[in-house]
């Protein structure tokens, strides 16, 4: 494998996602890697974060000793409320999601198919305790669902696939995939390249993914 390119670090990937969030956006950041996006939203933008447990205008973690355990995020960690923030009950929170009122939802994934099927709630292991939380509601609810993940598994398999082998979370619901090596759009006809890390040749990226990637559409060139 060529080594003349570098993977985006976790911070760089979070910054890359944050760069595409527009001023005034209502955004839900999923548990895990997507939570980091909040730390990279460009200064000067007003972005309102939603938490599934009934918060709009969620702020950063409180200082040590300032935690209030009535004010937590979806990952059950203490957070703060920004001036202008609001609380609401669970049915309202998910109505907000399902009703298409959120602009962007960023989720982690086990697999995404080229046309945007998402698998992120279960590996299908027979002895696993199943748990879904808000994953299925989030996947299909926002105006745009973005996935943020490493492109390859630890064993080098592409997590972008022709057809998901893990149990599905939602069908054709992912619009974009942000990875450590490249950014893709999912379309009905397959993957379209948005950008790739410098030095990663298109043919090599297609080999890694194992699927054709349309690079003819205008691509945003970013570091």
């Amino acid at each position: 494998m060529s080594t003349n390119y570098q993977r985006r670090s976790k911070d760089e990937l979070a910054r890359r996602v944050a760069q595409d969030i527009h001023d005034g956006a209502y955004v839900n950041l999923g548990i895990g890697m997507p939570t980091q996006v909040a730390n990279h939203i460009p200064a000067g933008l007003e972005v309102i974060l939603q938490s599934e447990n009934g918060i709009l205008g969620m702020g950063p973690a409180p200082a040590a000793g300032e935690e209030d355990f009535d004010l937590i995020n979806a990952g059950k960690q203490p957070v703060t409320l920004l001036p202008g923030g609001a609380y609401f009950h669970h049915a309202d929170s998910f109505a907000m999601m399902r009703g298409g009122h959120l602009d962007i939802c960023v989720l982690g994934a086990f697999q995404v198919s080229a046309n945007g099927d998402l698998a992120n709630w279960s590996t299908g292991a027979p002895d696993a305790i199943p748990a879904v939380g808000g994953a299925m509601d989030l996947a299909i609810g926002a105006k745009q669902t973005w996935v943020m993940m490493d492109l390859l598994t630890k064993t080098g398999q592409s997590k972008i696939v022709q057809q998901c082998s893990y149990p599905l979370t939602g069908i054709a619901c992912v619009k974009r995939i942000y990875t450590d090596l490249a950014t893709f759009a999912c379309t009905a006809t397959g993957l379209r390249l948005i950008d790739a890390v410098p030095g990663l040749a298109h043919a090599e990226l297609e080999t890694l993914v194992g699927l054709p990637i349309d690079a003819t559409a205008p691509a945003e060139q970013t570091a």
């Binding site: 355990f69 609380y87 669970h90």
Partner: protein, 232 residues
């Protein structure tokens, strides 16, 4: 005269029957009616169906209720936690039935029960394992799954302030499932940290009107993580 203020948990829970469906509020550390769950263990009702977002942590609260063998079935969205070992063991040994429901469907099915909706078409989970065997319909080009209400015999919720008519408000994200669960059960029991005189609650900010509430039980505020509150 209406007086829903019930001095003790024991009196509030007295009429819970074996086989009841119990809606229990709370999400994470916020809004869990710990005193009512402990009261339900003391009460001893068995063969319960419990509806909660999770399925208990550690050895206390909901986990203790499960461990006491009082629960036949759990309806929840996220049973798996780092410390959900009580649930995990009961589930794996087949002693506990699980109905796994996407979190928004859980909230909306409870809301539907309280709102007199017979069933509703919902896009969540279409085409997934969790919609397997359910009726579906295409409406204006989008696919939906038919979902039925979740009715409670009893709802156990944690509120912040209440009055003798049963009006309630909540604190921060401790609101979570409380307001919808209050509407969906035949009997709703709420703990509050403060009882106000009739007329003292701001009618503009009553979140759960008293019509939905049967008992308001005053509970001292404890400054612990589990009680969802840290003193200033």
């Amino acid at each position: 005269m209406i007086n829903k203020i019930t001095p003790t948990v024991r009196e509030a829970l007295a009429n819970i029957q074996d086989g009841a469906t119990v809606l229990i509020g709370g999400f994470g550390t916020a809004g869990i009616p710990n005193e009512l769950i402990d009261g339900l263990i003391d009460h001893g009702a068995r063969d319960l169906t419990v509806v909660n977002n999770n399925a208990g942590n550690g050895d206390t609260g909901l986990a203790a209720l499960l461990k006491a063998g009082q629960v036949r079935k759990v309806i929840c969205s996220f049973p798996r936690q780092v410390d959900s070992y009580v649930f995990d063991a009961l589930y794996r040994s087949g002693k506990l039935e699980l109905e796994l429901v996407p979190q928004g469907n859980l909230a909306e099915r409870i809301r539907a029960a309280g709102a007199g909706i017979g069933a509703f078409f919902c896009p969540t989970a279409y085409g997934t394992e969790l919609a397997k065997g359910k009726e579906t319909r295409e409406i204006n080009g989008r696919h939906y799954v038919l979902e039925y209400p979740i009715y409670g015999d009893v709802a156990l919720i944690k509120a912040e302030q209440g009055d003798r008519w049963g009006n309630l408000n909540y604190r921060m994200s401790a609101r979570n499932f409380g307001p919808v669960m209050a509407t969906a059960a035949k009997t709703t029991i709420a703990t509050v940290h403060e009882v106000l005189e009739l007329g003292q609650m701001n009618p503009e900010t009553v979140i759960t009107p008293g019509i939905y509430v049967s008992h308001v039980v005053p509970i001292a505020r404890t400054v612990t993580q589990g009680a969802g509150y840290k003193a200033a």
